[in-house]
């Protein structure tokens, strides 16, 4: 076999040809799919997993929200018994149809209303605070005079890698009545703050914890956005007579708009999903349910009270509200071209 070795590039097309033959053979054997349809066959595993673990729960949750959960069922729906193969499909749950009752009940559910208020409060304080801080850090780090930029960036972004339970526990310890924070406050002559026992301050503790953890993450995204703004726009603005603040107002903000929007939307969704921090720091909503969040309430309803139908309805309302808010943010922030 002297010829092929001298003609080395042949081996490459052969592999490609074989792949093509296989694809063509496959599409012949699967009529109706066509050449492009074969691609979907390769995507099938993903679609299957998606359907099983995401599609089905999403639809079943919606279905559940119109029922009252009465308990686990052992009723058999389908039973196939072949030699060497046995398959049994049981009903998942004992359900009683209640129509829209789960949805109407929410409006008189004081704990749900309290949880909504808490979540909204935390959202309205935390998201602007965090995005503002993240932007401040990003702009500062982007300035050309900063030395050790890499070090600062890493240090600021580090909290995001902290384990949820671990960092929440640290916050719990720091914010104790006689914890480090109050010790520092009192040592400079300030009054101690009831971080965990007052309704207002306990919510602020959550705000602080979440802000600490996520500011660096958002800063990295904003910093990437800042670095994408062409330097020449700043030079053009300088020539046009813009001051530092005017450059920020007329160049940075409009250019950063899509990135800021992304940060706002993801942070809003993240805060709506707030769960671990209040559970650990405020041991499940203390004091007096003033830190219980919507997701925490849904968890309680579903897995402690086992009111799966009602919890499903709550979930759908949460999704609806989050979608509405995100859509509104996109509408407001994305209207003008950036």
């Amino acid at each position: 076999m002297a010829a092929p070795t001298s003609n080395e590039p042949l081996s490459d097309p052969t592999v490609r040809d074989r792949a093509r033959f296989f694809r063509q053979a496959l599409s012949r054997r699967l009529p109706g799919l066509g050449e492009s349809g074969v691609g979907y066959v390769f995507l099938l595993p993903t679609f299957l997993l998606f359907t099983l673990f995401l599609g089905f729960p999403i639809l079943y949750t919606f279905y559940l929200s119109f029922f009252r959960f009465e308990g686990v069922s052992d009723e058999t729906l389908l039973w196939i018994d072949l030699p060497g193969f046995e398959f049994q499909l049981t009903r998942i749950a004992e359900l009683e149809f209640v129509g829209l009752q789960n949805y109407t009940a929410m409006f008189t559910d004081t704990l749900f209303l309290q949880a909504s208020f808490n979540t909204l409060f935390i959202l309205l304080v935390q998201v602007p605070l965090m995005v503002g801080l993240a932007l401040l850090f990003a702009v500062a780090l982007n300035a050309s005079f900063v030395k050790f930029r890499g070090v600062f960036r890493t240090v600021l972004a580090l909290p995001v890698s902290a384990n949820l339970v671990a960092y929440s526990t640290v916050f719990l310890l720091l914010m104790q009545e006689s914890g480090l924070v109050n010790y520092l406050l009192t040592s400079v002559g300030l009054p101690a703050i009831p971080w965990l026992s007052s309704s207002f301050w306990s919510r602020m503790t959550i705000v602080g914890a979440v802000t600490w953890r996520w500011t660096g993450y958002n800063m990295i995204i904003l910093l990437a956005g800042l670095q994408n703004i062409p330097q020449q726009l700043y030079e053009a603005a300088e020539i046009d007579g813009a001051s530092r603040i005017e450059k920020f107002r007329y160049v940075t903000v409009p250019q950063l708009r899509p990135v800021l929007l992304f940060v706002f939307v993801t942070s809003t969704i993240g805060t709506f999903k707030l769960f671990s921090e209040p559970v650990i720091i405020n041991s499940g909503g203390a004091p007096l349910d003033s830190t219980i969040t919507i997701v925490q309430y849904i968890y309680q309803t579903a897995f402690i009270d086992f009111r799966l139908g009602y919890a499903s309805a709550l979930t759908y309302v949460l999704i609806f509200v989050v979608s509405l808010l995100s859509a509104a943010q996109l509408r407001i922030g994305g209207s003008a071209d950036a």
């Binding site: 062409p230 020449q232 726009l233 030079e235 053009a236 603005a237 300088e238 020539i239 046009d240 007579g241 813009a242 001051s243 005017e246 007329y250 160049v251 409009p254 250019q255 708009r257 003008a336 071209d337 950036a338």
Partner: protein
């Protein structure tokens, strides 16, 4: 409006361990209302010089004055200059009206109605009044170019600074914008510093041309001056298209011996007195095909319609000749050329400084076919 004076302007950059002198003690006087073109190969410091004038770069040493005012320590926004950038640097999120009006909004006390009126005037002047509501990305390159110009014009600045503003346009549009820019600058009578790497553009547009190389200013002069009387071989080589032919020659008395069979006896040997080597320069347009000249071998003939470019070798020296369209030697043919001593350039073999430049009558630079008839 004012002239611009640069005195021993120096700009050094530190990039890591590297120390770069981008602008090396440049002295330059730009007259009031003048169109000065800074030209040179890439990396020659022309753009850095322009940015120093704009105030976008601090000078390491030296002073810059607008008229009698020393502006060396002023920031760009305080210098009252307008700049057109190579890629226009239009604000992408603003429409044309806002882009043009931004400078007035930020640095004048005009009301928004006054600004609008001014923007409208400038847009009409540039023929872009229909585009005022559009965003930069909806515009073609030529239209964006006009908006960038509009942004500069609207402010009635002390000086226009242009950094290769035409290089992103296609050839046809570039030629059109070139004349438009000249007309505009002439009408507005504003001191303009224009940076380009294209010597044709420089020759065509500049009242005067400043040629830079390696951070140093080589020569300042009108197009004809730098073409006819370059101070050194670099300027002679950079100015003129196609480039001048240069080669080494040894000197024996009044006779030059070059590559191939090149031999020429100077009627006036004073420039080469006391030298044994020089660099010889002959412009392609000064070479005519004759029957009893220097023999060269044709390699390629490029017919241009109105003239032919003949590429040939003389020994191992490549030459370019600009000949009449009727001259059509085939590749491999041996032809012979001659030239006038008046048209000959001689440069120092080491420093490249000019020893002798063109001393012919001058005018017929392009109407080269007439020359042999005159000779006869």
């Amino acid at each position: 409006m004012s002239g611009i004076t640069l005195q021993t302007v120096r700009k050094e950059f530190e990039t890591g361990d590297e120390h770069v002198v981008a602008v090396d003690d440049v002295d330059l006087e730009i007259r009031d209302g003048e169109f000065l073109v800074l030209v040179g190969p890439s990396g020659c410091g022309k753009t850095t010089t322009l940015r120093c004038i704009a105030g976008l770069e601090d000078v390491t040493d030296g002073t810059i004055a607008f008229g009698d005012d020393d502006v060396t320590d002023l920031r760009a926004r305080e210098r009252d200059v307008a700049m057109v950038f190579q890629n226009y640097a239009l604000y992408p999120h603003m429409n044309v009206r806002e882009n043009i009006g931004m400078g007035l909004k930020l640095s004048s006390s005009m009301t928004s109605a006054e600004i609008d009126a001014k923007v409208q005037d400038v847009a009409e002047l540039l023929g872009i009044e229909d585009l005022l509501g559009q965003k930069p990305k909806e515009l073609s390159g030529g239209q964006q170019q006009r908006v960038a110009l509009g942004r500069a014009i609207v402010r009635d600045p002390a000086a226009f600074l242009m950094d290769e503003p035409l290089s992103n346009l296609d050839a046809k549009l570039r030629a059109q914008m070139r004349t438009e820019l000249q007309t505009l600058q002439h009408d507005l009578d504003v001191t303009t510093v224009y940076v380009t790497h294209d010597q044709t553009e420089a020759m065509a547009m500049g009242d005067r041309i400043a040629i830079m190389n390696g951070g140093e200013l080589q020569q300042v002069g009108t197009a004809e001056e730098v073409y006819r009387s370059p101070v050194n071989e670099f300027v002679a080589d950079f100015i003129g298209s196609p480039s001048i032919n240069t080669f080494d020659a040894t000197v024996e008395g009044a006779t030059l011996h070059g590559p191939g069979g090149f031999e020429y006896t100077l009627s006036d040997p004073s420039p080469v007195e006391g030298r044994d080597r020089v660099r010889v320069g002959i412009r392609p347009e000064d070479m005519t095909l004759v029957d009893d000249g220097v023999a060269i071998d044709t390699t390629v003939l490029e017919p241009m319609g109105n003239e032919n470019f003949l590429y040939a070798t003389m020994g191992d020296q490549e030459l370019t000749l600009r000949v009449v369209p009727s001259a059509r030697p085939s590749p491999g043919d041996t032809v012979e050329f001659a030239f006038d001593e008046d048209a000959l350039y001689l440069f120092d073999a080491n420093s490249g400084a000019a020893l002798k430049t063109k001393t012919d009558a001058g005018a017929p630079l392009v109407e080269e076919p007439e020359e042999p008839e005159v000779a006869e």
